[in-house]
Assembly symmetry: C2
Homo-oligomer: 305 residues x 2
Amino acid sequence: MGEAPLVAGVELGGTKCICILARGPDDIEDRVQLPTTRPEETLSAIEAVLDRWSGFSALGIASFGPVSIDHASPLYGHITSTPKPGWAGQDVAARLKRHAGVPTGFHTDVVGAALAEARWGAAKGLADIAYATVGTGIGVGLIAGGKPVDGLTHSELGHLRPVRVLGDDWVGNCPYHGACLEGLAAGPAIAARTGIPGDQLAADDPAWDLIAHALGQLLHSLVLTGVPRRIVMGGGVMVGTDHLFPRVRAAMAKSLAGYVALPEVGDPETYVVPPALGGNAGPLGAIVLGAQALGVQLQTSFTTN
Amino acid sequence: MGEAPLVAGVELGGTKCICILARGPDDIEDRVQLPTTRPEETLSAIEAVLDRWSGFSALGIASFGPVSIDHASPLYGHITSTPKPGWAGQDVAARLKRHAGVPTGFHTDVVGAALAEARWGAAKGLADIAYATVGTGIGVGLIAGGKPVDGLTHSELGHLRPVRVLGDDWVGNCPYHGACLEGLAAGPAIAARTGIPGDQLAADDPAWDLIAHALGQLLHSLVLTGVPRRIVMGGGVMVGTDHLFPRVRAAMAKSLAGYVALPEVGDPETYVVPPALGGNAGPLGAIVLGAQALGVQLQTSFTTN
């Protein structure tokens, strides 16, 4: 890792910001946590942290979304729409890039975590992976050839509409789609359906089968993109619920029905795995984004493509 | 186009092969059509065509599938499994590359058509597109930054399982998944459900609403990948059924429910379009694949990413 550049990374989350100065997980020079409040206050506080640091050659920002990652758009680097007061339309990337004066990478927090898990975490050494977080929402980061899969915008695959379990006609709680994946299987959906928060719901509650089915459909869909050599599933619902992994893997295998006959997919225990980086995935993802803005692919052992 | 390399392109289809020697659609030096029979006979006939040609600097192959496009696999460039006699396990790319002695690109016929429509067709000038073919099967080619989105394998998004229309419990006819997209909306599924081939099914037949709903779910899913700036829909079911485009666009818009608030997606008539290259999309896609194997991005007006 002696070759890795020193990067300033910012994970801009909905409730807190984590700024790190690092080359990687084993070489973190500083780590500062700030509350996310109003934009002016928060961005000024981040700038003050950057002012204290020296020697970094790039900046990476992994932000809550939705954001614009479309380089062809004047809104590139902005948070586009959010219920968070003051943040809709906020230009994050250009402002912090101007302040830092170094090449700057910008993407969603979910893609950041995906990049970090691919580089240093549960999918280490793999260039093609998916990372799905199942928590207060469902987000997916898809990485191909070591880079985020995007174009017009970033993935919103947490809002796929899965086929339903026969007889389950609960309307779901996504304000846009009702019974999309997020409206069926995210934490608030579990609580809305059962009246009990997921972390208190008994392992034998029949609702888990419905949740596992929905998440199995997410995995089915991710496999069919052709991209992932491994799928990392994180977020509060997955990480806090050990019995869910075997169920979700089984739901995936049943749904695919042997259609993708590749050994990677055929071994669900190694194909669908929990994350390895915990709370550092987001800020470390910002480090990867910064390095990629320099044209440096931190991945040294990646499968070529 | 004076800068474009001369490329030998092969579209290897299930019933016929088209070989072209070309720089692009306006500069086709030769075009030869061969029947696809047994592998040895067909590949030898392709080699004989290549022997007659000179001056090409790359070879591109767009093949029926499934194929291995995983450079990390010893099966790269093989047709992996197919009911077509003799073709399962056939090494296509290495054999033809060895014979031609030039850099060789290889991918599915669907991805080939996607690349060609992005370069010269209905999505000309766009680096990030999706191409979906709805015919005897459903195939999807996703292109991001001018390159195919892939990794472990190629897209199989035609086998997504869409949410069903309330009250529709037809089991579908996909041998793996029953009521996946292909099992609900490909040509054979339409005929199996209604007893009438799609091209003879009356425009006011209620089955079309169910088919449009399923294809609307395909579009919903493709939009949520974040990739496409435009979606091209081709294949016999789409191209032969003019009334289907408005229905499919409406089904997409209804399903997304305003969630992806970008102007491109908000104008379904320009966002979801028929193909422009007809029967030449496949062989021209092979030309793009060959050029990409040379490291040449034929796309000159692509949106940068």
